[in-house]
């Protein structure tokens, strides 16, 4: 009963602040009435801390850990500032033991944390924000650009959203580390995924695992027959879409992933091994990129305009944006480094890593200072917010 009341209350809060206008607008349109808009200010990070709170309630109900008696510990778990705006969605079972065993700020953790923080800043300020300039231009008026430029903008948005969100996650992880807390990684080279299911295991891992643990499995997961599994998959992806934003573009985006998830499940039983893996990675990246364009568009009309511009050969402004190629080079270099490192470590699955240097050594300090300086110098200081900060 307590669980039900708690979850309903939390979802109601989220629904009111985030979805009220969307549902009211859609309802009015359906009835052919004039749209009504309430002036509701969306609290920053509401989707993230609501999910943290729901996870806590369900975990306690399931008996995964006892209810925390210290109010401040729970408050800290829900509102821990590095992860407040855009996650990762930490789990209580990982967080509470760290709070209880807290021993203060340690040099070793600061050593690593500060470097992870700067890596996050580089991803956000240097790569994502510069890419945003180009992406915003092309998405504003796709028909003004030639086909190649529209394609480059689509790829650039894939890179932008990755560097923006993973950059934020890195900053959150880095700051938490400096303060003496460990947060789980939120990304693991998502664009090396060989299918869409694999992509969701690598992208926004904390959200994917949340949906799996608190929605997919309670719905029955894959235990209640094939049809029910497909329905569950569709439901989870629709909810995931809606979680990202209150708009039809997000619903369609989630729906497409639901369909793709079902297709992947249907054909995924065929063991392909490593055959054509590279092509499958490219194909998955293409699909993900295509779906990001719907996600990015301000409305379905804009999404249609963009897709039309993408799939029709036409002339227009040519803008071979150099930051896009630079970002691609960084992504490819990082992926190759991760591949080599994973192979050397004998891991089958490629794992991402942070290139941490030894700051007690002179060369390590020089490398760190130079990288930090370059991040400041090459950073973009325009009006840019974290993309996932809107959710």
């Amino acid at each position: 009963m307590v669980l039900a009341v708690g979850c309903v209350a939390l979802v109601a809060f989220l629904g009111y602040f985030k979805y009220m206008n969307f549902f009211a607008d859609s309802f009015c349109r359906l009835l052919g009435r004039d749209t009504v808009t309430w002036n509701i200010i969306l609290p920053v990070g509401i989707s993230f801390y609501t999910f943290c709170a729901i996870a806590y309630l369900i975990d306690v109900y399931r008996g995964e850990y006892p209810a925390e008696r210290n109010f401040w510990y729970v408050a800290l778990y829900i509102s821990f500032f590095p992860k407040l705006t855009a996650g990762p969605i930490a789990r209580g079972k990982d967080f509470f033991p760290q709070v209880r065993a807290y021993r203060g700020i340690k040099w070793n953790a600061v050593h690593d944390g500060v470097q992870i923080l700067v890596i996050g800043l580089f991803k956000k300020m240097v790569l994502a924000d510069h890419l945003g300039v180009f992406v915003d231009d092309v998405f504003f008026c796709p028909s003004a650009y030639n086909t190649g430029t529209v394609l480059l903008a689509a790829v650039s948005y894939s890179l932008q959203i990755y560097f923006d969100f993973s950059g934020y996650s890195d900053m959150a992880i880095g700051i938490s580390k400096i303060l003496g807390f460990d947060l789980a990684p939120n990304f693991n080279l998502p664009y090396l995924a060989a299918n869409v299911s694999d992509f969701w295991k690598r992208w926004h891992i904390s959200l994917s695992s949340w949906f799996q643990d608190y929605l997919y499995i309670p719905l029955g997961g894959s235990r209640r027959g094939e049809t029910r599994t497909y329905i569950n998959l569709m439901l989870v992806m629709l909810c995931s879409g809606l979680w990202h934003g209150a708009g039809w573009t997000f619903v369609v985006w989630g729906f497409c992933y639901g369909i793709l998830g079902c297709i992947n499940r249907a054909v995924g039983k065929i063991d392909r091994g490593n055959r054509w893996k590279f092509l499958r990675i490219v194909l998955t990246f293409g699909i993900v990129t295509l779906l990001w364009t719907i996600f990015r568009a301000d409305s379905m009309k804009k999404a249609a305009q963009f897709l039309k511009a993408l799939f029709s050969i036409h002339t227009g402004i040519s803008q071979p944006y150099t930051w896009s190629f630079f970002a691609m080079a960084v992504l490819v270099a990082g992926s190759i480094a991760a591949y080599v490192k994973s192979k050397r470590a004998g891991q089958n699955r490629i794992q991402g890593f942070y290139p941490i240097v030894d700051l007690s050594k002179c060369w390590g300090q020089i490398a760190f200072f130079t990288f930090t300086g370059l991040t400041i110098i090459m950073g973009y200081y325009g009006d840019t917010a974290f993309i996932y900060g809107n959710f």
Binding site: V133, F134, D136, D137, F140, C141, S143, A144, N146, T315, G316, I317, S318, Q319, P320, Y321, T322, W323, C362, Q365, I366, F369, T370, G373, L374, I376, I377, M378, G379, Y381, G382, D383
Partner: protein, 399 residues
């Protein structure tokens, strides 16, 4: 933990007693030595990183060091033969001339026929030296053009310095002045007229000068920090300009101040307006200029015998025919920032047309009036592709 601490303390006291208390001092000294070594390493690494950063900056972004221009033709100029690097807006490496201005064209003699003035748009450090308006004019016209366009020199600063510039270079044919706005501020125009308009300062001596010269990375770090600090600050709300009689009178006096020294030297003043370029949501070229302000500016130019050249239509034509915008680069936003090589080419072509036709017409003031009248964008002259007229004929109303 308590037991361990007690044991450690006991052992320490025992050792101290045995060594007569020396080990504690040595330990402290050792600790201090380690801290000093760590700090030294930190400072050394910091300095080395700054040097490494400066080497990188000399290729990535180095605007150079500017010094006061004693002649007053501009508020400042670059150091003679100053090297510059820009990879944040276009990709350019340049060297200024002996006088600290961007002129790659070798002059034939001492004489300056056309003096080109303006802001960073005319200084053009974001494009190759042989792609800017000044160079292109020299390539096309027999007259020698000298470009003293320099960053931050808006129409206010240029008009303030015009007399000194004419005295310094004594142009025989034309003075061409670039403006990015025709919506001027009465307050700034008054300041120019009263001689109180602020001069752009130069840090050409002391520590700041040395630091700028020796460590280019500091300049960029300073700029980025300033941009970051200004990021959240909203621009002060602009007071809506009223184009009333006061405005018209101030504008007239302001342009008269510009025209007088040029006319006294026997040359002609050309002011060309290069408007901001943008496209709307439907992909159409967007003209955001206030038409009332432009009309007033054009009328004031006509009254003061200034040739006014509006680049709106040539820029629009560039977009409609070639899908190119006059501003922006492949590493910046589309249509924003400085003019690219296409913008400079269009300006040079238009100016060449204007100058050739003006020379053809001679010094007949009626011709000027006719020219200005027919150049009027409000008359909707059928101009451009399909009209069967070349741009010059169209501009000058030659049917």
């Amino acid at each position: 933990v308590k037991t361990n601490r007690t044991t450690l303390l006991r052992d320490k006291i025992k050792v101290d007693l045995e060594c007569g208390g020396n080990s504690a001092g040595e330990e402290r000294m050792e600790k201090l030595r380690r801290i000093a070594a760590g700090l030294w390493k930190l400072v050394f690494s910091g300095i080395l990183s700054l040097c490494l950063g400066s080497v990188l900056m000399s290729a990535y972004r180095y605007p150079g060091v500017h010094i006061v221009n004693e002649s007053g033709a501009t508020d400042y100029k670059w150091r003679p033969n100053q090297r510059k690097a820009t990879m944040i807006e276009g990709f350019t490496w340049l060297r200024m001339d002996d006088n600290g201005f961007n002129n790659a064209y070798e002059p034939v003699g001492e004489r300056v026929d056309i003096l080109l003035m303006g802001s960073s748009q005319m200084e053009a450090t974001t494009i190759a030296a042989k792609e800017n308006t000044g160079y292109l004019l020299n390539e096309t016209l027999p007259e020698y053009t000298y470009n003293i366009g320099i960053s931050g020199h808006t129409i206010y600063t240029c008009v303030k310095n015009l007399k000194a510039a004419v005295n310094e270079y004594q142009p025989t044919e034309y003075v061409i002045l670039e403006t990015a706005s025709v919506e001027l501020s009465v307050q700034d125009m008054q300041a120019v007229l009263e001689g109180t308009y602020a001069i752009i300062p130069s840090h050409d001596h002391g520590l700041l000068y040395i630091l700028q010269k020796a460590l280019p990375v500091l300049q960029t770090l300073y700029k980025q920090t300033r941009d970051w600090k200004n990021e959240g600050i909203e621009e002060t709300e602009e007071i809506e300009q009223v184009y009333d009689e006061t405005y018209a009178a101030a504008l007239d006096a302001f342009l008269a101040k510009a025209a007088t020294p040029v006319a006294d030297s026997g040359a002609k003043l050309i002011i060309f307006y290069q408007p901001p370029t943008a496209i709307d949501e439907d992909g159409n070229y967007m003209d955001s200029t206030d038409l009332e302000a432009k009309a007033l500016f054009q009328d004031a130019c006509e009254e003061n015998g200034i040739l006014f050249v509006d680049m709106t239509e040539p820029f629009e034509e560039l977009y409609n025919e070639q899908h190119r915008l006059a501003h922006g680069f492949i590493n910046t936003g589309v249509g924003v920032g400085h003019m690219n090589k296409y913008g400079h080419q269009v300006i040079a072509d238009t100016l060449v047309d204007v100058i050739r036709t003006d020379k053809m017409e001679g010094e007949n003031s009626d011709a000027h009036s006719l020219w200005v009248r027919n150049l009027d964008w409000r008359d909707e002259i059928p101009y451009g592709a399909g009209s069967g007229m070349c741009r010059t004929c169209c501009i000058f109303g030659i049917f």
